[in-house]
Amino acid sequence: MAETTARPKNFLGVPVAKPKVAFIELSSCEGCQLQIVNNEATLLDFLSLVQVVNFREAMTEKSDDYDIAFVEGSVTRKDEAEKLRTVRNNARVLVALGSCACFGGVNQLKNRFDLDWVKREVYGNSFIDTDKAQPLEDFVHVDLRIYGCPIKKEEVEKIVTNLVIGREVHHPRYPVCMECKANENICLYDLGEPCLGPITRAGCDSWCPNNRAGCWGCRGPADDANMVQMRKIMTEQGFSDETLIDRLECFGGFKACVDNIRKGQLK
């Protein structure tokens, strides 16, 4: 791919290489990849930072010689697991892009059911091949996660910049409420709406609460999230366990917690 705008070749004197990056998708809505092209305002700067060598959604050329692979989507079939292993072998850094890759995403909702029933419900008696929907880490080592459904472009840009200059990448460890307050939102609970903000990892800049929509936990749990208290709060505020579980299990990040509630172990 052609070189674009000139860019300093070092940061604080430390040489900065232009890594070759690949975007690869498994089972997904391809939205996270699209979020990257959705950066109209900063796309060019972004492209000057990396060399895109593989991006099926946007370009014809493809190469298996890349440093960083952004893998979107969850694994739902054997050929995808194989593809993922190949990518792992090719890439120096493998980044799980979005909730599907990090936790299974909405796809893993089908894991609630017996797979045969699932297949029959959609394809009747015709043969169709599918397995449980699983996150990447069930198959390969993942170096870095970019959370969110969809991912937040500002966050991706920050992470990629850090990757490129070789600075460590840290996710916020506190929950969404922190950002929600900084954005001076009215708490959804004051409005009578449920919200998983108190237990979900921040970093999205409280995207949903900013729009008066409760958080669904797409970024998975914050460090040391207090699930027991969250459940108490939901109950006290008049929301059923079903409402809580609907949100917790939507993107797969709170799987352990959902299992515990179902087993009656979370009190």
């Binding site: 004197g13 600075r167 460590e168």
Partner: protein, 302 residues
């Protein structure tokens, strides 16, 4: 209209070096400094020599042994480091830094000639004058030798002002020993240097064990007069200084004559961000150097 409310320019006087309270700009002053040399000490520790670029500033920059500066790499971060060089020389500052996280990892990739930011000096220092005429025990564990190097330099430069001087230094393994090239020089200045490692290697000839073992050894040769006239400076991980200080206390060295340097997370160095609070004491203002009695009185210090 005369209705506009008066505007106070708190930036006024920003460029003044010796500030009054109302010249607030000076409180966000960062010296631009240049890395003049990088010495590799161990696999994870380097000694960085840095020089404040502006000659005037360089001349006026002073600090006390035990104080720290905050080093800033634009875009990467800021972190506190004890100044590890002589406080009396107005030359380069030396920082002995371990590679542990985001800022330090990046710092280790920088070359000579790169600019970094320096704020400070901040915090309390070891009261060296108070110790004149007395014996001194300088005890360090691991990276704890970094903050000890300034008081060591003070002792070297004013050797006549102190009686018995012992440096006790311990690490886990011989490969982790810092400043090995200086040991002979210290010894030459009539300093008893005791090195101990927790686990030796085939080439290791010295003693093996904890620093407290050395203490016990030398205490058997010292009389009560010694203990009455002794100050101790102890730097290292909290478990270590706890054990050492208790040992010293058994010999009736008063807790006010033992000094330790605490490490906490810091984002400002100026008693604002609260990150370094122990109980509710600011480590950056009331510390990092505390006497051991104060430490005992701090909630959650150790």
């Amino acid at each position: 209209m005369g209705n506009q409310i008066k505007f106070t320019d708190v930036m006024a006087g920003r460029q003044w070096r010796y500030f009054r309270k109302d010249d607030l700009g000076a409180f966000e002053n960062t010296y631009t400094a240049e890395i003049t040399a990088v010495h590799k000490l161990t696999a994870v520790e380097n000694l960085f020599r840095i020089q404040i670029v502006n000659p005037e500033d360089r001349k006026n920059f002073t600090f006390q042994p035990g104080q720290f500066v905050i080093l800033e790499l634009p875009g990467i971060g800021e972190a506190p480091f004890s100044v590890s060089s002589s406080a009396s020389r107005h030359g380069d500052l030396e920082l002995c830094i371990r590679r542990v996280g985001s800022l330090t990892n990046y710092l280790f990739r920088l070359e000579r000639g790169t600019h970094v930011g320096i704020r400070g000096p901040f915090g309390t220092s070891f009261p060296m004058e108070q110790m004149h005429g007395e014996n001194i025990l300088l005890i360090a564990g691991g990276l704890g030798l970094a903050p000890l190097r300034a008081p060591i330099a003070y002792v070297q430069e004013n050797r006549n002002l102190f009686n018995n001087v012992d440096i006790i230094y311990g690490t886990k393994e011989p490969s982790q020993l810092l400043f090995t090239y200086q040991y002979d020089m210290w010894r030459a200045d009539d300093v008893n240097l005791h090195i101990i490692v927790e686990k030796g290697d085939p080439s290791w000839k010295g003693p093996v064990g904890m620093t407290t073992r050395i203490l016990e050894d030398i205490f058997t040769h010292r009389n009560s007069e010694y203990f009455r006239k002794t100050y101790a400076i102890v730097c290292g991980p909290p478990v270590m200084f706890k054990f050492v200080c208790n040992k010293l206390n058994e010999r009736d060295i008063p807790m006010q004559k033992m000094f330790v340097s605490l490490e906490r997370r810091m984002h400002c160095g100026m008693g604002k961000c609260c990150r370094c609070n122990v109980g509710s004491t600011y480590t950056c203002l009331k510390g990092p150097v505390f006497d051991y009695w104060s430490v005992m009185n701090l909630k959650e210090a150790i």
